[in-house]
């Protein structure tokens, strides 16, 4: 194989592929990115066996001799980063790989590319087409609520439910739950079954990172045990999380008599950060008292201190207090713009708070309660 390519475009593609290759693995071959030059195209593949990526570099590639090679992740990345050549030539021979710039030459050992595990291609005719922006928001707004440490493995991923034009992503750790809804377009009658399409947190984050806002849409195909995502340049494969996802619909609040209060992210987040100054790792609860046109945030931690912060709200009905973990509310504020408005729905000290935006995002926080 012998190719010449523009360093910059190769670097960004290689970097993305490299982020999937495991840094440590008993299977050393996985610490490579495989490049394949064939039919006028250069394809990069990398996998840790749970997640795989297949990327195409279209710009600035000249293929002199077709073939493939395994590029060791760390060293190749170093060369790409440190070189200041506009173009680099990569070729293979019997002894290994040669990377050549105008005034530099590198030799790296080459393993047999045929031994590299194959990374799935996107051949599906049933899939959903989602706006790229929507997919990115869905990931960003749900992934933080997942719990990779949970003994219930299913909570270590984002649940995707796709049927006809409805697309729903859910992330929960069992104490709070984030849900983002949007519209997509089903191709070939594609739909997910029940709550079985759970994409591991790490994989869906990698997918989000691989997307470019330049692309309008992504294709997502859920299969029995894995999920494929396609953009114009890349295909990412992920195994799904095995395990039963809890029945999130059952616990999602649908209340008629709860109080709904209009709020804006910025001021609430600012008040929350102030009140949270006297919380710590052990004591994270903040009392939220709604009433008399005011939301009062109060925290008190032994040996640290007390705080009380007030925020005007449009509610002067019966006083409602509930205690929430300050981090859970902060997580919600962090994924939204300061100007975003939302509705805070509360009912009592023992029932969850429901926060909703008008662009399909909902967030449920279970309160804290005195025990024993």
């Amino acid at each position: 194989m012998k190719i010449t390519c523009q360093r910059e475009s190769l670097t960004s593609a290689f970097g993305l592929a490299a982020s999937i290759a495991p840094t440590r693995s008993p299977k050393e071959i996985l610490q490579n990115v495989k490049i394949t030059a064939t039919g006028g195209r250069l394809t990069l593949t990398a996998t840790d066996l749970d997640v795989g990526i297949r990327l195409e570099v279209q710009e600035g590639v000249e293929i002199e001799t077709e073939g493939s090679a395994l590029l060791p992740v760390q060293r190749t990345m170093g060369i790409l980063r440190e070189s200041n050549d506009e173009k680099l030539t990569i070729e293979t021979d019997d002894t290994g790989i040669r990377i050549t710039g105008s005034r530099s030459k590198f030799r790296l050992p080459g393993s047999n590319p045929d031994e590299f595990p194959s990374v799935a291609e996107f051949h599906e005719d049933k899939y959903h087409v989602l706006p790229t922006r929507l997919f990115r928001e869905m990931v960003k707004r749900t992934v933080f609520a997942t719990d990779a440490e949970s003994s219930r493995y299913a909570l270590g991923g984002v649940l995707l439910e796709m049927e006809e034009s409805s697309v729903i992503a859910v992330g929960t750790d069992g104490r709070r739950l984030a849900k983002m809804e949007g519209t997509g377009e089903a191709q070939g009658g594609h739909q997910t079954t029940g709550t079985s399409t759970i994409v591991p947190t790490r994989a869906i984050q990698l997918m989000e990172r691989a997307l470019s806002d330049k692309d309008d849409a992504v294709d997502v195909a859920a299969r029995a045990n894995d999920l494929l995502l396609r953009t114009p340049r890349a295909v990412i494969y992920s195994r799904l999380v095995e395990g039963r996802y809890p029945n999130w619909r059952q616990v999602f609040p649908t209340r008629e008599n709860a109080v709904q209060i209009d709020m804006t992210v910025g001021p609430l987040f600012a008040a929350l950060r102030q009140a949270a100054i006297v919380t710590d790792h052990e004591s994270r609860g903040i009392d939220f008292t709604f009433g008399d046109g005011t939301l009062k945030l109060e925290a008190s931690t032994a040996e640290i201190g007390e705080s009380q912060v007030e925020l005007p709200i449009g509610y002067d009905g019966e006083v409602i207090t509930l205690t929430m973990d300050n981090r859970y509310l902060a997580d919600f504020c962090k994924v939204l713009d300061n100007e975003s408005s939302f509705v805070m729905e509360v009912e009592s000290s023992s029932s969850p708070a429901l926060l909703t935006t008008d662009d399909g995002y909902s967030y449920v926080i279970m309160p804290m309660a005195r025990d024993r």
């Binding site: 104490r175 809890p246 616990v251 052990e282 205690t323 973990d325 309660a369 005195r370 024993r372």
Partner: protein, 401 residues
């Protein structure tokens, strides 16, 4: 009965243990003579030269030019000290540590469980020797004051027992300097009065003592009669509880290892519950055949005193820590820390899903189970109840035999 356990030349002995080439040679632990440091501890070989703790290192070097001076490694001694305390706690919860190397133990309530106080003292000495390769002197007496004197009488490696009917014959011949509170000044005054032994002191009326020594006088009057009713105050400020065990031969069977860990967890949790505490962080410690130590810890979502919950975490830590490659272990230990007061009402994060309710019910059930198990063990001894898998260990020992 009270035990006073006092390690012999503790810091220096720990260093000697680590560096066998120093055994028998004069060794002190302390600051450098350049830094005008002082001796923190001297081994017995160094003491022969008149070196003792608190003298300047420079002076010590003058007394013994070949003296080996080692830096003080306090955190390491503290770790060894914890191992000793763990041994004490196997016998009684009433342990009052005085410093890293000495402690009072009240074994009055556990003699029916472990045998007479003297037996317990022997066993503790043996276990310390086995597990830390260090030597302790133990005094056994009806109270703290007598136990402390007793432990000092036959150092090193001493064991002195003062039975209730021997108190006077034990005290009488001793010099008055042995009494708590008798230092240079008081000693000098007593000397002027012609009082040298405790027996002579005991001959003085309490009024005379009061006249000469004020309120201290009555204190001396009592001590000379072996009267001391201060209780052993256990150290409730402990920041962690842990147990560990070193295997006679390296363990290679994961099931046996788990069984041992399960037992250790049981012991740790029993102590935790006895102190009415709850812990949030679980620690695992293993030492590989090549002496490398691996420690892992995990913080639970809520504080707990339930054996099964800590065991679950410990088991997972163990599984993660040992890959099949290096399952040759010399030691395994488990501990808990990050205590909360179990009696306090506290804020608990509520859960969205029923499964968590099941968890809560399970938690309540396990707590009940633990309290029953504790009651059985308190009544019939710690070996009266054991998990099925602990039989694995005895099978392994049979093999060894």
């Amino acid at each position: 009965m009270i035990l006073h356990v006092d390690m012999d030349a503790f810091y220096a002995s720990v260093e000697e243990r680590e560096r066998p080439e120093f055994v028998g040679r004069p060794v002190v632990v302390g600051g450098t003579p350049e830094g005008r440091g002082v001796v923190a501890a001297a081994n017995y070989a160094a003491r022969k030269f008149g070196i003792h703790s608190a003298i300047p290192t420079a002076t010590a070097l003058r007394l013994c030019p070949g003296l080996i001076v080692l830096p003080v490694r306090m955190s390491y001694y503290a770790e060894v000290s914890r191992q000793m305390h763990d041994i004490f706690f196997r016998y009684t919860p009433l342990v009052e540590p005085l410093s890293l190397d000495e402690a009072f133990l009240d074994v009055t309530g556990c003699q029916s469980l472990f045998g007479k106080a003297e037996q317990i003292a022997i066993r503790i000495k043996q276990e310390i020797k086995q597990q830390t390769s260090l030597v302790a002197s133990v005094g056994v007496a009806p109270n703290k004051f007598l136990a402390k004197i007793a432990s000092d009488l036959q150092k090193p490696d001493g064991l002195v027992v003062v039975r209730p009917d021997e108190i006077q014959s034990f005290l009488d011949p001793l010099p008055v300097g042995r009494l708590w509170g008798v230092g240079k000044v008081t000693g000098g005054r007593l000397d002027q009065l012609g009082i040298h032994t405790i027996e002579q002191l005991r001959g003085l009326p309490v009024e005379t003592l009061r006249q000469n020594f004020g309120s201290q006088g009555e204190h001396f009057w009592k001590l000379s009669r072996g009267i001391d009713d201060r209780a052993v105050v256990p150290d409730r400020e402990a920041k962690s509880i842990s147990h560990e065990t070193t295997f006679a031969t390296d363990i290679v069977d994961k099931d046996v290892l788990r069984a041992r860990l399960s037992e250790l967890t049981e012991q740790v949790m029993r102590r935790l519950r006895r102190q009415k505490k709850q812990a949030r962080t679980v620690h695992l410690k293993i030492r590989l055949a090549n002496f490398r130590i691996i420690t892992r810890s995990r913080t639970l979502p809520n504080p707990t005193d339930v054996t099964a919950e800590v065991w679950q975490a410990g088991k997972e830590l163990l599984d993660n820590a040992i890959s099949a490659g290096h399952l040759h272990l010399r030691l395994v230990g488990v501990g808990v820390s990050n205590f909360g007061d179990g009696s306090d009402s506290r804020l608990v994060q509520q859960s969205l899903f029923d499964e968590d309710d099941q968890e809560r019910q399970e938690h309540a059930k396990q707590r009940k189970l633990d309290s029953v198990a504790d009651a059985v063990r308190d009544k019939f001894g710690s070996t009266s109840l054991s998990k099925g898998n602990s039989r694995l260990q005895s099978r392994a020992e049979d093999r060894k035999a």
